[in-house]
Point group: C2
Chain length 201, copies 2
């Protein structure tokens, strides 16, 4: 290879680096203080850039929040539903997704916290909301299929079932985060089984 040749066609911009640094910093400070609670200069300092630099990559705080939301949403969905083995029994795949959800809250607490945050909702634009709906659709279809197979109780609509399970999980994690109790593996498994009971009647 022509080792002495300069990277004529690859003038690597560390542009991507700063953008990523800003998003990472935003995840951290927003998860902790809420979107409304964190001024842009504080975000800039956490990211290690000047305040004005943020506006080279995101035209406003609102745009920044939306792009962050979408990236994290994609990450979460990929993480939860990738490589779901079709040969698993319904109960096994329920357990697997449950386990992945818990892992997400443990391994990416800032991302989970940010997604769970309510105070960014007024910022969310059409695109972000659409993405949210699209993420829900396949899960809903999965619930319906299990109902048709007689696994899940059929006296309740799939949307309602999903809302119950999701709410139960989110509040479980929040209660722990708020210091009401701490969860060991036995608690987490028991909660999973209880939610399974909710679905199957």
């Amino acid at each position: 290879m022509n080792t002495h040749s300069k990277t004529a066609t690859a003038p690597r911009p560390r542009i991507k680096d700063k953008r990523t640094a800003i998003l990472q910093a935003a995840l951290k400070v927003f998860a902790e203080g809420g979107v409304n609670g964190v001024p842009m200069p504080v975000l800039a300092e956490q990211a290690g850039v000047g305040t004005g630099t943020i506006y080279r990559y995101f035209s406003s705080k609102e745009v920044l929040v939306n792009e962050l939301f979408r990236e994290e949403k994609l990450n979460l969905n990929k993480r939860l539903y990738a490589n779901l083995d079709k040969s698993l029994t319904p109960k096994e795949s329920f357990a697997l997704v449950w386990e992945r959800m818990v892992a997400y809250t443990r391994e990416a607490p800032e991302s989970y916290r940010f997604m769970e945050l309510q105070d960014h909702r007024p910022y969310l634009d059409e695109q972000s909301r659409t993405m949210e709906h699209e993420a829900i659709a396949p899960i809903l279809a999965y619930y319906r299929r299990l109902q048709e197979q007689g696994v899940y109780r059929e006296d309740i609509r799939a949307e309602v079932l999903m809302a119950l399970i999701w709410g139960a999980f989110v509040n479980l994690i929040r209660a722990e985060r708020d210091g009401l109790f701490s969860l060991d593996q036995a608690d987490i498994n028991a909660a999973r089984d209880a939610c399974w009971s909710l679905c199957t009647g």
Copy 2:
């Protein structure tokens, strides 16, 4: 009449009216726009008073939010747990409390919405948080008793069980409020039964 005692014992004019008007207005506008989303002049206009008048009754926005929170918390608890007939079976009293919760969301939607709001939490002081804990304690004791009696599943701590049920309910109502679906009586009863299944295994 005795004019002397009249003036002496009447240091309280219709003060109570304005205070109440402000709290009622706060409930309405905060429920809709969030605490951070509503400027004091807007609250003043809704209450039909001048901006400065608010500060005659509440020394700051924070104090106002806390007093409102505590009053609504008392109302909610009275409403949920008053006159609970001891002769009811566990399942019947579960159904009764569930019914009262739903009634609360229907009849006092602004109050419910405000209590459910997350963005007032940074404002809450020690007293408000203490009151919250005190409100939870008896319910927790009730859950424990039902576990000892073998009604509720015992493989899971009462705090965890409560967090799951509460989260499920709150998210059910929120999903409806967000327009994901609307709930008829059959849905509500089915959700109640599903949550009962969660508790009993």
